[in-house]
């Protein structure tokens, strides 16, 4: 393996040291110079967490071989402000609350800095365009754009510097904007996420994942991988000393596949080695013999008799069935003047937090097995791990590192167990950082759902009965499926007061990627069906969509179909506010189509169009490079 002698300037300091040929500028900055403010979110140029200036040009350092930066002048997020200080832009990000999880923020600050360097008077359209290469999953971008505009105005003297100050200390936190305490560490790149952390003697883990969806594992031969120089240990399910199994509700998932693999991407074995390349090479030496089993990829097919069974404890493949009955549904339909039946489908969705899963584990001087990771559920993880590794609870410690976006996707203990086992086996600290591809293939998704809705209504829009059946693909393991099915059933009919309901939600095992927690936790799928269905029914009855909701909405004092008494209900106020803010033109929405009068109003969000800088023709060249 060749190395390159690098000589360059980084944040004003001369740097001279070798780089490995495989290194991208990103790796050189992070691994050689420990400048971890520059993040890796995707490694493919899509997300912008790795943006840096190279000779004054903003580039994505994951797309630049380190050699290209030889002799160059590099500026990273750590070098923007004087140590201990914040640039106007960083202060503006702090002021507007533009940083949430913070993982995209160093890249965003770099892109925003670049945008205002290129055009100090950039308008909102141009700012959006110039930040187009940077993705954020928390903010919805509004606060970020607000920050860039604020900084621009301060830098141009249109606003005083005091505009960047925080709000005065109010008498109450409630109703006042409060600046985030952790923002300065995020806008400067100082905050260390798990993948940024290093320890002396730290090993690097790589995971062998299943290429097949459903198979028996006949054998795993790790001898060749274990014998490789630089490999400290190889672990499989055989290394689990205690009672294997984790999950949020049912503990049906082993730390690594145990005799049987149930989805593509499931962990089979893991290697801890002196560096990532060695660990990766060792994966190639592990020999696994599979005996394929029939697999099932559709939830309804998995419910049919004769379908392949995934878990012995659930011969019907049902993770959880939640039935709710209220009133007399048949009588309600008989009383209806219109019955509408329709089915709805939602797809699996990846959380795509900008920070891929990462963790660092070690066994401390007192023999405490310690795992640092952005876990959203450390106490539960600690209890589960203690059982799995057969240690008393006081010998297991979880430290929650900053979560670079979770959205429910980091509730599952899918890799922390492997890290703990490898640290115990090797006696050394071990770190695992997922690639984006690994994060997508192996971690939970939002439950895809198929919902059949039958609703009976009177001509005035009053709902007389609802029959709601939801079949959700839970994938290969239970994770949060049970809770998601409960929540979906509780919220299935929306905030509407309905006398007669019959609800069934089913979470089903299949050989797909497991489904788990994701923002709304089952409510989104149900609401999509409910609200779509109400719109369809309003159309059929010639009613205004707001009207049909007002007729049926719960009011203060109502009871839900799970018998929860609601003290105060603000739905009426919310509907009123939405109607007013949108300038809604009353009447059934199906009647007007494209000639509505309430489109294109001031305050409506415009579609994004590129080319603001071409239209304003600001981008004048000062640096012609004619051959």
């Amino acid at each position: 393996m060749s190395s390159l002698d690098m000589e360059l300037t980084v944040n004003g300091r001369a740097v001279k040291r070798p780089a490995k040929a495989r290194m991208r500028l990103l790796d050189f900055l992070r691994d050689e110079l420990n400048l971890t403010g520059t993040k890796e979110g995707c490694g493919a140029g899509e997300c912008g967490t790795c943006s840096v200036f190279v000779d004054g040009k903003l580039v994505k350092s994951c797309l630049m071989p380190a050699a290209k930066a030889n002799g160059a002048t590099i500026e990273t997020v750590e070098g923007l402000a004087k140590r201990g200080g914040l640039t106007y832009l960083q202060q503006a990000f702090h002021k507007t609350g533009a940083s949430q999880c913070g993982y995209c923020i160093p890249g965003m600050v770099m892109a925003a800095t670049g945008a205002l360097r290129e055009n100090p008077h950039a308008g909102l359209d141009e700012i959006k365009e110039r930040l187009g290469g940077n993705i954020c999953r928390c903010t919805g971008y509004s606060k970020i754009f607000e920050a860039v505009e604020l900084a621009r105005d301060v830098m141009n003297g249109a606003l005083p510097v005091t505009a960047l100050d925080g709000p005065g200390a109010g008498a109450s936190y409630i109703g006042n904007n409060v600046r985030r305490l952790d923002a300065p560490s995020k806008v400067t790149g100082a905050l260390k996420y798990a993948g940024d952390m290093v320890m002396p003697g730290m090993l690097h883990m790589q995971v062998l994942r299943s290429p097949v969806a459903h198979a028996l594992i006949k054998s795993i031969d790790i001898s060749e991988a274990e014998a490789m120089p630089g490999v400290e240990c190889v672990i499989t399910a055989d290394d689990v000393p205690g009672e294997d199994g984790f999950g949020v509700f049912v503990h049906d998932q082993p730390i690594m596949a145990r005799g049987r693999v149930r989805y593509v991407g499931e962990a089979i074995a893991a290697v801890a080695a002196v560096d990532v390349e060695t660990a990766m090479a060792a994966l190639g030496k592990i020999k696994v013999e599979y005996e394929n089993l029939p697999a099932v990829f559709d939830a309804e097919a998995a419910m049919a008799s004769g379908a392949p069974v995934l878990h012995d404890y659930a011969p019907d493949n049902i993770v959880k069935h939640i039935p709710i009955r209220k009133g007399d549904v048949e009588a309600g339909f008989a009383d209806a003047e219109l019955v509408v039946e329709q089915s709805y489908e939602t797809q699996p969705v990846e959380h795509a937090y900008l920070e891929p899963e990462a963790g660092l584990a070690y066994v401390d001087h007192d023999g405490v097995v310690t795992v640092i990771s952005p876990s959203q559920n450390i106490t539960h993880h600690r209890h589960m791990l203690a059982k799995i590794i057969d240690r008393p609870i006081n010998k297991v410690r979880f430290i929650m590192s900053p979560v670079g976006g979770g959205f429910g996707g980091k509730e599952d203990m899918i890799y922390q167990g492997m890290l703990a086992l490898a640290a115990m086996k090797s006696g050394l600290p071990v770190r695992l950082v997922f690639t984006r591809e690994e994060s997508i293939i192996s971690t939970a998704k939002r439950h895809p759902a198929r919902i059949t809705y039958k609703m009976g209504l009177k001509n005035d829009g009053r709902i007389t009965a609802v029959e709601f059946r939801m079949i959700s693909d839970g994938g290969a393991y239970g994770l949060s499926t049970e809770g998601v099915m409960r929540k979906a059933a509780i919220l299935s009919c929306g905030p509407y007061d309905i006398a007669n309901v019959k609800i069934d939600t089913h979470g089903v095992y299949t050989n797909n990627t497991p489904s788990g927690a994701f923002r709304t936790f089952g409510a989104m799928q149900a609401q999509f069906a409910t609200e779509s269905h109400l719109d369809i029914c309003a159309g059929k009855l010639g009613l205004d969509p707001f009207e049909i909701r007002r007729v049926n909405m719960m009011r203060s004092g109502a009871s839900t179909h799970t018998k929860q008494k609601l003290g105060s209900v603000s739905l009426g106020l919310a509907l009123e506010a939405a109607e007013k803010a949108s300038g809604w033109e009353s009447g059934p929405s199906v009647a007007r189509g494209g000639v509505r009068g309430d489109l294109g109003r001031a305050g409506n969000r415009e579609p994004c169009t590129l080319g603001a800088r071409i239209r304003t023709s600001h981008d004048v060249d000062t640096k012609e490079d004619i051959a």
Binding site: G43, L58, E624
Partner: protein
């Protein structure tokens, strides 16, 4: 992960050609590198360990551009961002700022080269249809007994299919030359899943020159990508429009002469619907770039939906 035994950065074309012709089997040549790094990942090519990478980005002879006798010559190291930032290139290649702004993002455009986009010969390449519309040729160099031998090939003959070109072993694509389109209005249309950082499902480029009284089409250039294995030039539509009065009617009639253009294996129906709207839009946006707006901007989305 992209690894290699040797990472070479030649500084002259001769050096680059010598290294390239002598490189072990499986070596790769790159300029910006923005395509190969994502390619060397799981799910695509996977981990790659190459004998040598020859990085031509420091070969000065391949930098920049020049304009001679109505032809614009763009060096292999010219990055996409220059089509937005260079006043001279904007003047001579009026479709390219529009093409560039839809290509990746500002940061990738600072590294990604037009020539790299062309030589990779992806059916979805954004740069190739534009060069095709401007009667582009590629310039190719190789070593012949110690000196540099050169040849030129029309772009339509150079690209043979997805990933396929007539480039031979030891050859390097050094530049692209095309007509100066000064005085034309330019346009670029693209449909993908997001507005930054997406690969085109369909893309179209339009260039329009008006008669002095701005009443008739003096010249029209149209090309499309993403609808078959290679980009296509819309000769029939171009020929029909030449000499026609500038009107929506002419454009709608011209669209009908396009025929069935889709040769892609997937999403054929969708693509053929997009094409018709895109031809209209490419011509109208190019007209708008000449200062003739047939439609107010807010009407465009509505009108170009195929009914």
């Amino acid at each position: 992960m992209l690894n290699c035994d040797q990472y070479l950065m030649p500084e002259t074309l001769e050096e680059a050609l010598a290294q390239w012709v002598g490189a072990p089997e499986g070596s790769r040549l790159l300029a910006g590198g923005t395509d190969i790094l994502p390619w060397a990942r799981e799910g695509r090519a996977g981990h790659m360990h190459l004998p040598a990478i020859i990085d031509i980005s420091r070969v000065k002879e391949l930098h920049g551009y020049d304009v001679v006798d109505g032809r614009v010559r763009l060096g292999a190291n010219l990055v996409f961002q220059r089509f937005l930032t260079s006043e001279s290139l904007r003047h001579h290649l009026p479709c390219m700022p529009h093409c560039a702004v839809w290509f990746a993002d500002d940061q990738i455009r600072e590294q990604a080269t037009l020539v790299g986009n062309i030589v990779n010969a992806s059916p979805a390449a954004d740069g190739t249809p534009a060069i095709f519309a401007m009667n582009g040729t590629v310039e190719i160099a190789r070593l012949d007994g110690g000196s540099v031998a050169r040849r030129s090939v029309a772009i339509g003959d150079f690209i043979t299919g997805p990933g396929g070109t007539t480039l031979e072993a030891g050859e390097i694509l050094t530049a692209v030359a095309c007509d100066s389109m000064a005085g034309y209005g330019g346009a670029f249309e693209k449909v993908g899943q997001r507005r930054s950082l997406v690969i085109s499902v369909v893309c179209a480029v339009g260039l329009v020159k008006l008669s002095p009284d701005k009443k008739t089409f003096a010249d029209v250039r149209l090309a499309m990508g993403g609808i078959g294995p290679v980009p296509i030039r819309l000769d029939a539509v171009e020929a029909f429009l030449k000499g026609q009065p500038v009107s929506r009617k002419s454009i709608l009639a011209a669209v009908k002469t396009a025929g069935d253009l889709v040769r892609s294996r997937t999403r054929r129906e969708y693509r053929s619907e997009v094409i018709r709207g895109f031809i209209e839009r490419a011509v109208e946006d190019a007209l708008a770039d000449c200062g003739v707006a047939l439609l107010p901007p807010e009407m465009k989305e509505a009108v170009h939906v195929v009914t």
